[in-house]
Amino acid sequence: MSTSTRNPIESLRDMENSRIGLYVVLLFGIVFYLFPMETAVMTMFKTQTEFVETVPFAPPSPDGFTLGALMTAWNTLRPGLVNSMLMAIPATIFSAMAGSLAAYGLTTISWRGQVAVFSIVLAGIFIPYQAVLVPLAQFWYQILPDLMNGFVNTAFGFITGGNWTYPTRSGHVQLLQLSITHAAYGTPMCTLLFRSYYKGISDEMIEAARLDGATAFSIYKNIILPLSLPMFAVTLIYQFTQVYNDLLFALVLVNEPASQVATQRLAALTGGVVQSFNTTMAGAIVAALPTLLVYIFFGEQFAKGVAE
């Protein structure tokens, strides 16, 4: 990335002191950014008496060591983790696909007015979701069930006898609704990520293919899609993190305990009356694990997604 020779500080390299000072500050930065996580990891292995009596960042003593908190947290969160995956993975794939297609139609094929259309989509990234919460709840819990009841009982009345009702209270349906909601609200961000990438693809290649009579679809399939693979990695990773980490939509759309996602379960664990911090810290680490793993293995892609 940067050539180290260009840097003016480089000429000061002889001045060991300023160099050492720099690294001291940077190491202090590491302490600053990691200490809440470090205390969480230490605390989750401590017994109740141990974490009250010792300093939070010290490792547990042999007597105060326990895996009990971790087990409790794991058992509480495990169903939530499964639900989170079931919900987040399809939503992420859908958003990335939709974003890629939209960005292709709005970038690679150029037409007047496409920037205006793109701006409309783009604004969708920035809205506070509170502004859509009440209509969302209305849509998923009133409008859609009413429509579906009417449709199914009219069209298939001879089977249902007019008694079919949309399973609003089914946990699986709620999870599906949450997934669709995330897919829809994730699409603008994915479109943005793909658009900035497609802007960099040379026009010559596309022009050549077009002159050869290639259709818009075959250009997408044969040229754009293969070229997009690195960007798919970036988008999938970024979007998965976003969807997995969300709490607000889940709070509003999922109320069946069996279908709650990991963030909901953790919030319930944290908000409990008894503050057993070893269990809540273990819960935080367990709930963070999927995104932490993604970040550790694909940090570069995540940073790219963030930088857009």
Partner: protein, 356 residues
């Protein structure tokens, strides 16, 4: 990657030479009276030219129209509906009645002390968080840009908190801020500073012998802001680092030749060139701040108390705890307008500069 691109490019070139030969053949033939293929081509062209809209728009519509419609339905449809709902008196169970629309919810809002308190908290959070986050992010970016070793490791660790969920970070910070055995209070106790901080910060009416960071009105909002800065300054760092890397080396060298000190060089030459980075980072940070709901909710539930109640938490509480849907919608509209105030000018200027 580059190899693939190159191969594709050469493939494209050869394709094009083939195609252009075909084209010229077609033209010569056409002047000779025309062949089937050339006429067909021309007929399609005239058909395309006679369309009321560009052919490319129609051709590309199957790709962008469905996703755009989905986004428009969920984003704009929902916001418009929300605006209408805010004009009704919809509350409790049942269905909204649209027969009588008025601004009574907004009137109620204007006379609601809790609303003004939440608005004030939101604005303070927005401004203080964004400015401090930018400042810290810039400082860290400059430090990382000094050609250090293990640059990637430092960058990865600094950005790590951002990959975590608000719920996770809120859980961790609830422990850090814990009055009895949290890290902060234990450290202060270690250096015998706890008493001093208590005398400085304890609210007049409170009777406590430990620092309750999240409950005292003198510290609650600051505690939230501090934790959010911890989580998002890494983001500001990444944006500024990209901005710093885009500045040509000559600018550094010129300042060096002029004999400017390092601090002076950054103040006069380098930082002024980071305006674009600062603007885009602050827009995104403000949007994060408006969305800080998840964090506060995980920390304190839907009733965080007046000290850290922001519009986002108030809206959720009013609508989904008290079932006062119309009032919640009205608060949501205010929140939406606040966001629009932040991003509207930004998107417009980006559009004008052709950056979109």
């Amino acid at each position: 990657m580059r190899e693939i691109l190159n191969r594709l490019r050469t493939a494209g070139d050869s394709l094009r030479s083939v195609v252009s030969r075909d084209e010229s053949d077609g033209q010569t033939l056409a002047t000779d009276g025309g062949t089937q293929a050339a006429v067909g081509e021309r007929r399609r062209d005239t058909l395309r030219d006679s369309l009321p809209v560009q052919w490319e728009l129609i051709e590309s519509a199957p790709f962008w129209l469905p996703p755009v419609l989905l986004a428009v339905f969920f984003v704009y449809g929902a916001i418009a509906w929300n605006a209408v709902l805010s004009l009704t008196d919809f509350q409790g169970l049942g269905e909204p009645s649209y027969s009588q629309l008025d601004f009574s919810m907004y009137a109620r809002m204007a006379s609601d002390g809790a609303f003004w308190q939440a608005t004030q908290n939101t604005l303070v959070l927005l401004v203080v968080f964004t400015i401090l986050c930018l400042a810290l992010g810039l400082l860290v970016a400059i430090l990382i840009d000094q050609g250090i070793r293990f640059e990637n490791t430092f960058r990865t660790i600094y950005l790590l908190p951002m990959s975590l969920s608000f719920v996770v970070t809120a859980t961790m910070w609830s422990w850090v801020y814990n009055a009895k055995s949290g890290v902060f209070n234990q450290l202060l106790r270690l250096f015998n500073l706890e008493g001093l901080v208590i005398t400085l910060l304890k609210p007049a009416v409170v009777n406590a012998d430990v620092i309750q960071w999240l409950s005292w009105h003198t510290t609650a909002l600051a505690a939230i802001i501090f934790a959010l800065i911890w989580q998002f300054s890494g983001y500001a760092m990444v944006v500024f680092l990209a901005g710093l890397r885009a500045i040509p080396d000559e600018h550094y060298e010129a300042a060096r030749v002029d004999g400017a000190s390092t601090v002076r060089m950054y103040m006069r030459v380098i930082i002024p060139q980071l305006r674009a980075s600062a603007v885009s980072a602050s827009v995104v940070l403000m949007v994060f701040a408006l969305k800080a709901f998840d964090f506060i909710y995980s920390l304190r539930g839907s009733q965080p108390g007046a000290n850290m109640d922001i519009l986002a938490t108030m809206m959720y509480r009013v609508a989904f705890d008290s079932l006062r849907w119309a009032y919640g919608s009205a608060i949501a509209i205010v929140l939406f307008l606040l966001a629009l105030l932040v991003i509207g000018p930004y998107l417009y200027s980006e559009y004008k500069r052709g950056e979109l």
